[in-house]
Amino acid sequence: MIKILFFAGLQEEIDSDSLMMESAEATVQEVKRYVQSIYPNVDLQQVIAAVNEEFSNGDDIVKSGDIIAFLPPVSGG
């Protein structure tokens, strides 16, 4: 089980702050595609992913028990 977290505008669009993915292992990009498949209307283009509280790349591996957070785009400081 991989735990997926959503924040800010993304959390509001999805109307939930988290989601579980039944998978032993997946790349960040695979998790993203999974979220996109469940919420097809949500724009994840600009989203940054953090795996276990560290910024990550699309190729990074997420394992069961990990927490992946989707950090939505922002429009400046």
């Binding site: 800010a8 959390q11 790349n57 950090l71 785009p73 922002v74 400046g76």
Partner: protein
């Protein structure tokens, strides 16, 4: 009851508490940055704000900024407190305090801290105007995804 040097809180920040955390007999200078909720931005009136953080990661990133500062400016001590939740006009959203034997380092390290917060700390704010709302991040999100 010493508070953490780097923290996210959901109640009003007492500026003096953050200053106390960096005090030292070796300090000749303390710089403080106080980020407050401003009423007008580009002529548009804000009613209030709501801050949200990915709290555990935000605290970790704040502490990382503290480590960066310690290695870039030896002898400085930094403390950062960021508030989340609903904030009214003039409320304090973030306080950064840096002490140093000499003032130049205290200014430099303080400004570095707020720049890094906006780059790498997962905190967002939602602006509430009379005609709508919008999520705006503290992050510049220089880290690109994919």
């Amino acid at each position: 009851m010493k508070a953490e040097l780097f923290s996210i809180v959901d109640n009003p920040i007492i500026v003096d508490d953050v200053i106390q955390q960096v005090q030292s007999v070796n300090a000749g200078a303390i710089t403080v940055f106080i980020g407050t909720v401003r009423e007008l931005t580009n002529g548009k009136r804000t009613l209030y704000l709501e801050y949200q953080a990915y709290e555990s990661m935000a605290v970790k990133k704040l502490a990382e900024i503290g480590e960066e500062i310690k290695s870039k400016w030896p002898g400085t001590i930094a403390a950062i407190t960021h508030r989340v939740g609903r904030l009214e006009i003039s409320d304090v959203a973030v306080v950064i305090a840096v002490s140093s034997p000499h003032r130049k380092e205290a200014y430099e390290a303080n400004e570095y801290a707020i720049e890094r917060i906006k780059e790498m700390v997962p905190i967002w704010k939602k602006e509430y105007w009379e005609d709508g709302t919008k999520w705006i991040g503290d992050q510049l999100q220089k880290v690109s995804y994919e």
